[in-house]
């Protein structure tokens, strides 16, 4: 499906493809102002954090970064819609999922720098996790999360929980065997999981169509007999709308949903990727996508609908920049783990009692 055909629509795939045009005023009216501004705040936090990390890397601080500039309207929004008790299962791209799930910038930054005050006590680094917010570990094996998330959803269903699981993946990892195995298990058992694919058109340095048999990953839903949707990932409101429906389905026990969010990664695969602008991607293509910047688009909608004033926006940005500054300070000043800390947490401290 061409991106121009997706703009402003939610497309449902299946035996017949249906297109639903969004009325933005109607969508905006459905949600509380505080919820919408919180989502914008998370998107801004995500972007400013990526900017700050880029700066730190330039200064020589070692951080594993796969930025998600351009994808803030997609993953960041999706994870912002979960309750604290809902499970989030992230992938490697960006920190939008962490911010959306409610993690604290200070402890994120500390973990990224490998400090003991970080979420994983400095042993996870980019592999963030937060038990308190039910954010599962950001694992390092592509596609594995699809099956891990199916298991989380199985556990939730067996305990008759009302909570759901949101699992993020990309167009690249959509081709892993794990994806097929996990989606089949989730669909067969009608598990409360939402599979959210960010199709940003590139798997590392490779255009996804070079290695992927379908143009729309959402089409794979047909093979699992579950609903599949294509959504404009640059448009936060469209993502809010489709995610809200998928979460409702999962909570109601109606099973999994596959959502494909068409989006774009402004920068390279990592901060060290020198080929993303004019190399394996045309500069013109990158600039074209930037014209529909998700933060600009969402901000405009909120401003036009009087849900936000320019003054509020400025003070929000100011507040976030301050928070990020504090986070960097906190992380920089935090200590590394002690050498013996690296030898712990391999096994449980307590063995089975007799």
């Amino acid at each position: 499906m061409k991106y121009k055909d997706i703009v402003g629509n939610i497309i449902s795939v299946g035996k017949t493809t249906t297109k639903r045009s969004l009325d933005y005023q109607q969508v905006l009216a459905k949600y509380e102002k505080s919820k919408l501004t919180k989502i914008l705040e998370n998107m801004l936090k995500n972007r400013f954090l990526d900017e700050e990390i880029n700066q730190l890397i330039k200064e020589g601080i070692a951080i594993t970064e796969h930025s998600n500039f351009g994808q803030e309207g997609s993953q960041t929004v999706a994870f912002s819609l979960l309750k604290k008790e809902d499970y989030g299962v992230p992938n490697h791209r960006g920190w939008g999922w962490a911010i959306g799930k409610g993690l604290d910038l200070k402890r994120i930054m500390a973990e990224l720098m490998g400090k003991k005050t970080g979420y994983c006590q400095g042993k996870g680094g980019p592999h963030l996790a937060d038990r308190e917010n039910n954010l599962f570990l950001r694992v390092g094996i592509q596609g594995s999360y699809i099956s891990l998330a199916a298991g989380i959803a199985l556990g939730l269903k067996m305990q008759q929980s009302n909570n759901v699981c949101l699992c993020l993946f990309g167009d690249g990892s959509s081709n892993a065997g794990y994806v097929h195995e996990g989606m089949n298990i989730a669909a067969t058992n009608k598990l409360p999981v939402i599979y959210f694919c960010e199709n940003n058109l590139y798997a590392l340095f490779t255009p996804y169509l070079e290695t992927t048999s379908v143009a729309d990953i959402a089409d794979r839903a047909i093979g699992y007999n579950i609903p599949g949707y294509i959504v404009d990932g640059m448009d936060a409101l469209a993502v809010i709308e489709v995610m809200t429906e998928a979460i409702k389905r999962a909570r109601n026990g109606e099973g999994p949903t596959l959502i494909e969010s068409k989006t774009y990664r402004y920068e390279g695969h990592t901060a060290y990727d020198k080929f993303s602008y004019g190399g394996y991607r045309l500069k013109e293509e990158v600039e074209e996508w930037k014209k529909r910047d998700p933060i600009t688009l969402f901000t405009q909608r909120l401003l036009e609908s009087n849900l936000l004033t320019s003054q509020e926006l400025e003070s929000l940005k100011e507040k976030i920049r301050e928070e990020i500054k504090e986070a960097v300070e906190y992380a920089t000043q935090s200590a590394y783990p002690e050498p013996e800390d690296y030898l712990e947490q391999v096994y449980a401290e307590k063995e089975v009692s007799f």
Partner: protein
């Protein structure tokens, strides 16, 4: 204490049944577990229903990872791997995900999953993709515990402890042991995962073996006592990781000689690990070089006839010991 005679397979089943009765979060996952190719879980569905017996597709990597996911929500999955060979298919789920979750998350998440690995297909002879031994491979992953029982009594006590353990446990079940009968108490008991057992006392040498080879070695030891007046002390560690070296060192102090018998191949094997640790920490307990009797360096041939040439036989163990003591 009341006792009953149970097969190895039924002893595991009774252990699982007890844990499922005690703890509602214990449930089973695997292929065909309602009928159970290896008979262990056969019949449990009548008591626990499909709700606690989750039939899984032929997707070992997928469902072994799903078990990790379920475990972080508070469930305690007991996963059956129909043929041990399939842990190679599920290797990411077991060795990357289950094993490392606690460490990578700084102790926030962990995976209390028991992987029951039924190996040596059809009692050997099912070929290189259904009859190999893979316990040595599984030793190499910090975060995993590896258990390998050889008697019905141990199998029941160890499966119960494995299910209650907060770490992922690889529980190896040798298919040739399933019909072996033994006394099992009706009262509840548990066996710790770091405690070996001296199966037979002897003064002439210490033989270390586990699983089906421990049974075979015990038979050889009895024959050697009768035929040759050689007294072999047989030590069965029961858990390979953690490994109870204290009992082994105590035995070596008495005998000064060490023979290790394993079905898995020799290079990079369990015996290599035991020998290396003894050399590092207990070299001066030894009066003679260490001897390893292991599977041949080939994939498992098809057919019982061929298979018998690549795994240690009673004759090979007996002759090697006689030669070693000369």
């Amino acid at each position: 204490m009341t006792k009953e005679i149970l097969t190895f397979a039924d002893a595991i089943k009774e252990g699982i049944r007890e844990e499922m009765q005690i703890d509602k979060s214990v449930f089973l996952m695997g292929e065909d577990i309602h009928i159970s190719n290896c008979t262990v879980t056969r019949g449990l569905i009548d008591q626990f229903g499909k709700e606690r017996m989750k039939l899984m597709p032929i997707s070992e990597n997928g469902f072994c990872a799903a078990a990790v996911g379920a475990s972080v929500t508070g469930m305690r999955p007991v996963v059956e791997i129909m043929y041990g060979d399939f842990i190679l298919v599920a290797s990411d789920a077991i060795f990357n995900q289950a094993a490392k979750l606690r460490y990578m998350s700084g102790g926030q998440f962990h995976a209390p999953v028991t992987y029951r690995i039924s190996l040596n297909g059809m009692g050997g002879g099912a070929g290189a993709h259904h009859s190999q031994s893979l316990e040595a491979l599984s030793l190499h992953f910090p975060g995993l515990k590896v258990v390998y029982p050889s008697t019905p009594y141990d199998a029941k006590g160890l499966i119960k402890t494995s299910i209650r353990d907060e770490d992922p446990v690889l529980f190896f079940e040798h298919k040739l042991l399933y019909p072996v009968k033994g006394e099992v108490p009706k009262e509840e008991y548990l066996i710790p995962l770091r405690k070996g057992i001296i199966r037979r006392e002897g003064k002439d040498l210490t033989l270390v073996s586990y699983g089906q080879m421990a049974q075979l070695s015990l038979e050889v030891a009895e024959e050697l006592a009768q035929e040759e007046k050689i007294e072999v002390e047989v030590y069965d560690p029961r858990s390979l990781r953690p490994f109870d070296y204290q009992q082994l060192f105590a035995s070596l102090e008495k005998t000064g000689k060490l023979v290790i018998v394993e079905e898995d191949t020799k290079i990079g094997g369990v015996g290599a690990e035991i020998a290396a640790t003894v050399a590092e920490e207990g070299l001066f307990l030894l009066e003679a070089p260490i001897k390893r009797i292991a599977g041949k360096e080939t994939p498992a041939p098809a057919g019982k006839y061929g298979h018998s040439f690549v795994v240690p036989s009673k004759e090979e163990i007996k002759e090697t010991i006689k030669e070693y003591l000369k």
